[in-house]
């Protein structure tokens, strides 16, 4: 330890030894503790460095108070026997004489000293008071701090719990939102299901009725047959049979529609989508036009005419495709022409943008694809098709797409093969009154001369316009047949004939064009 007090680190000086000597000397010399204490005191002007010390202040203030007045000079005395009185006399004389010059200075000094001492005393008092107040405050503070130290962890844990609760609530809220949404969807679906069920139920009822009618008819037939054995009336039987066949057809038709409707509803429910156009299956054309959200299948079923009617009407085109092996039916619909081709051993493909139609055809085993015409044609190899048929499609296309279609089709057709495009005939006004505006997916009717022109300009040859579906003569305005001589009856009848042509002209026409 002594080594730390001094440092002498050379010439093998034994510091321990020196320190031992020094300590021995210190003990022997009896240093007075008073002396050592006095030496510890700082110089009289204490440094402002360091902390405030109230005890020190008290000592200083006591000294200030004790010495604040200048003491009066002591009494003048002398111990000398002879000259003493003289000395005393002279000293007193000098004091008296100087009194007037000195005393006012002393008075001023005393006044100032007392005032200064008072000020210091007041300041000291203030400090003491403040310290007392501060100590009290500190006591209060420390007790508050104690309380706080107890409370703080509680608050912290409460805060944590609050955070957890908040999070849990949020999760719960989110979950409930999802549940609510799911419930809503479920409810919507159930509503749709309910409607679909009602429709199905109705259809089923109709089927039953039809079936009952059929049974009844069958019964009637049996009765008739029984009658026939006794009473042969050939014509009546044939009529009965015909009506029965019609009934069976009607029944089959209703069954098919019902099946298609059921399928549509089933898929609708499965997909959970709001729009039937969402029922995209297998391949999906990218270029699906804006969907008109109506049941087009049912619409066609109701207003286009029965499949057998259509098939009969389209039979006239068969000759153009005999012996071909790759015919494309654009807008195949319920597959009437595809079926005709298949029945006649002609390889073909039907395409359509209505999924209901496609599913319907697929159910019947017909070779159809859900595809957009332009996209499909593009995907075909050039000169790979040997026939294109397109019935009741042109009026659904915008002019540019129609032109493009005719262009591409020519590329894809083999030379000598036919492109037949059937559409409604705008030259007959009845078409507008009865059918064209019925179908909301119709865009624009195409004039036969325009369509012919389009084919011509694209380089097709042997172009022919066929007018089809004449209006029944019963509907037309009859010619006047007057026995009395009417001077302008000829003219009148010619005009009526013209008017009949204008109003009741052919409902459809077809362009037959060769590549």
């Amino acid at each position: 330890m002594n080594n730390n007090l001094i440092k002498i680190d050379y010439d093998n000086i034994d510091v321990e030894d020196i320190m031992r000597q020094i300590n021995q000397n210190i003990n022997n010399r009896n240093y007075s503790s008073d002396d050592l204490r006095i030496l510890k005191k700082d110089l009289s002007i204490s440094s402002l460095e360091g902390k405030f010390d109230l005890t020190k202040l008290e000592q200083c203030v006591a000294l200030t108070n004790a010495k604040c007045t200048v003491q009066k000079a002591s009494v003048i005395k002398s111990h000398r026997r002879i000259i003493g009185p003289f000395i005393v006399f002279f000293k007193r004389l000098i004091r008296k004489l100087s009194y007037w010059y000195v005393q006012f200075l002393f008075d001023q000094q005393n006044e100032f000293n007392i005032s200064a001492a008072n000020s210091i005393n007041a300041i000291k008092k203030y400090i003491e008071q403040e310290q007392e107040t501060r100590n009290k405050m500190l006591d209060v503070l420390s007790s508050k701090i104690e309380i706080l130290t107890e409370i703080v962890p509680k608050i912290e844990s409460m805060e944590r719990t609050w955070q957890e609760l908040k999070q849990a609530y949020q999760e719960l809220y989110n979950a409930s939102q999802e549940t609510h949404k799911a419930c809503q969807e479920l409810y919507d679906a159930s509503q749709e299901l309910k409607i679909a069920y009602q429709e199905l139920y109705n259809d089923n009822q109709r089927c039953r009725t039809a079936y009952q009618e059929l049974v009844n008819a069958n019964q009637e037939l049996r009765d008739d047959l029984r009658n026939l054995s006794g009473n042969i009336q050939e014509n009546k039987v044939v009529d009965k049979l015909n009506s029965l066949m019609k009934m069976i057809d009607e029944y089959r038709r209703i069954e098919e529609i019902t099946a298609a409707r059921m399928r549509r509803i089933e898929q609708y429910i499965k997909s959970g989508d709001n729009s039937p156009s969402g029922l995209v299956k297998d391949s999906s054309p990218s270029n699906v036009p804006e969907v008109i959200d109506m049941d087009y299948f049912l619409f066609e079923e109701k207003y286009r005419g029965s499949r057998s009617e259509i098939k009969d009407r389209q039979r006239i085109y068969l000759d153009y495709y005999r012996g071909k092996s790759n015919v494309l039916d654009i807008g195949c619909g319920r597959g009437e022409f595809v079926e005709l081709l298949v029945e006649n051993n002609i390889n073909c493909t039907g395409i359509d943008l209505n999924l209901d139609n496609i599913n319907y055809c697929k159910d019947r085993g017909l070779p159809v694809i859900y595809a957009d015409a332009l996209e499909y044609l593009q995907s075909c190899e050039d000169a790979s098709l040997d026939g294109i048929f397109m019935a009741q499609v042109a009026e659904h296309l915008n002019p540019n797409d129609l032109i493009k279609l005719i262009q591409i089709a020519r590329k894809k057709l083999k030379t000598g093969s036919y492109f037949i495009a059937e559409t409604i005939n705008p030259q007959s006004l009845i078409v507008f009154a009865e059918s064209f505006y019925m179908d909301p997916s119709h865009i624009k009717p195409v004039h036969p001369l325009t369509l012919k022109f389009l084919f011509e300009t694209e380089g097709y040859v042997d172009i022919e316009v066929k007018y089809l579906s004449p209006v029944s003569e019963d509907v037309k305005i009859p010619k006047l047949e007057c026995l009395n001589d009417v001077s302008n009856i000829e003219k009148f009848n010619a005009a009526i004939s013209h008017l009949n042509n204008l109003i009741y002209g052919y409902r459809d026409y077809a362009i037959v064009a060769k590549r």
Binding site: I6, N25, I26, D35, S44
Partner: protein, 354 residues
């Protein structure tokens, strides 16, 4: 050389360590063949021949400027803006202002200002030379770069001057003379020397004296306090010499038995080296650059335990073997401060910036 190298300092006065250092560096620069001058803001009465006023300085962008920093002054700002090829600072340390807080408001402010300026001047100098590792550390802490340690230059030839005979005659007796040389200043803690001496004289050796050699100009209040302390202790044989002539100082060194340094702040402390020169054994308190200047010599005390120090004085007086070894160690240390060595080192540093 061709280059002009100028030294600038706030106050150039006779006898102070910084001014002496400036003069010796001037010699070196002259010898190197430099065109060199000393410029100061205040020039002491006996120094007007050797230095020029700052007012007459015509700065040149090719100058090498050496600035001596020991206290705050308006020059610190001037030096920042002075056009020069290179700027060098010689840092002699600045006494912490708090030592002066009760004694000299002007000095207090100047020291405060000096510390601030020292921080601001960072980056101004291409090189800094510090009197001690203690000073160097301060600069590095402030962010100075290129700082080298170079002890202050001391002209030992001066000490070979004949000492004042009157003083020698007056005190030539068998008394033990305790000596401290240095301005009367609170940081030098002369009161502690008095306290040690009090015990030494009272308990160990009544036939002893204390010489506190140093000017007390500007430190009158501290001086009065020391006087009051001496009077309160009823202490005789303490001599506060006030301003003394150089020859007189030499005489006190000659008379001294022990050199006692209780200073609490020194950037270098030339009197320690002087004591080494005069073969006076040193007891010094371990503070600031003091132990560094002492090197491995003298006696360093780590605590101000007055009776211990009094006894140490006694040991150095009566233990002849110890005294001899201490003086020898100091003489060895003295070699490190040889004038030529320090001058050579200064020259090599200056060549780097020419």
């Amino acid at each position: 050389m061709g280059n002009r190298v100028i030294q600038i300092l706030p106050t150039f006065s006779y006898g102070d360590a910084v001014s002496n250092d400036v003069l010796l560096k001037y010699d070196v620069l002259k010898r190197m063949g430099c065109d060199t001058d000393i410029y100061a803001e205040n020039i002491g009465p006996r120094m007007s021949e050797k230095a020029k006023s700052m007012k007459d300085l015509k700065p040149n962008k090719d100058d090498v400027v050496i600035f001596h920093m020991a206290i705050g002054s308006p020059l610190s700002q001037v030096i920042r803006e002075l056009p020069a090829k290179r700027k060098v600072m010689v840092y002699h340390n600045i006494t912490p202002a708090h030592f002066f807080s009760n004694y000299n408001k002007v000095l207090y402010d100047l020291c405060m200002e000096g510390r601030k300026q020292l921080a601001v001047l960072r980056g101004t100098f291409d090189m800094s030379l510090a009197d001690s590792a203690y000073n160097k550390a301060e600069l590095i802490e402030l962010g100075y770069e290129n700082v080298f340690e170079l002890p202050i230059t001391i002209r030992f030839d001066d000490y070979k001057t004949e000492p004042d005979t009157k003083i020698l005659q007056k005190y030539k007796d068998d008394y033990v003379n305790i000596l401290f040389v240095g301005r009367i200043a609170p940081n030098k803690k002369q009161e502690d020397i008095i306290k040690c001496f009090y015990l030494y004289k009272k308990y160990i050796n009544p036939k002893s004296r204390l010489f506190l050699v140093g000017n007390y100009l500007g430190m009158e209040r501290y001086y009065e306090e020391l006087c009051r302390l001496i009077s309160n202790l009823n202490l005789n044989d303490v001599y506060l010499t006030g301003h003394t002539k150089f020859e007189e100082i030499l005489a006190y060194y000659r008379l001294a038995s022990v050199f006692l340094c209780m200073s609490e702040h020194e950037g270098f402390c030339v009197p320690l080296v002087e004591s080494m020169f005069f073969k006076v054994p040193i007891i010094a308190f371990n503070a600031a650059a003091v132990p560094e200047t002492m090197g491995n010599s003298g006696v360093i005390v780590n605590v101000k335990k007055y009776e211990l120090i009094a006894e140490l004085i006694d040991q150095l007086v009566i233990n002849k073997e110890l005294r001899r070894k201490v003086i020898e160690s100091q003489s060895r240390r003295l070699l490190d401060f040889q004038e030529d060595k320090i001058k050579e080192r200064f020259e090599s540093y200056i060549r780097k910036v020419l």
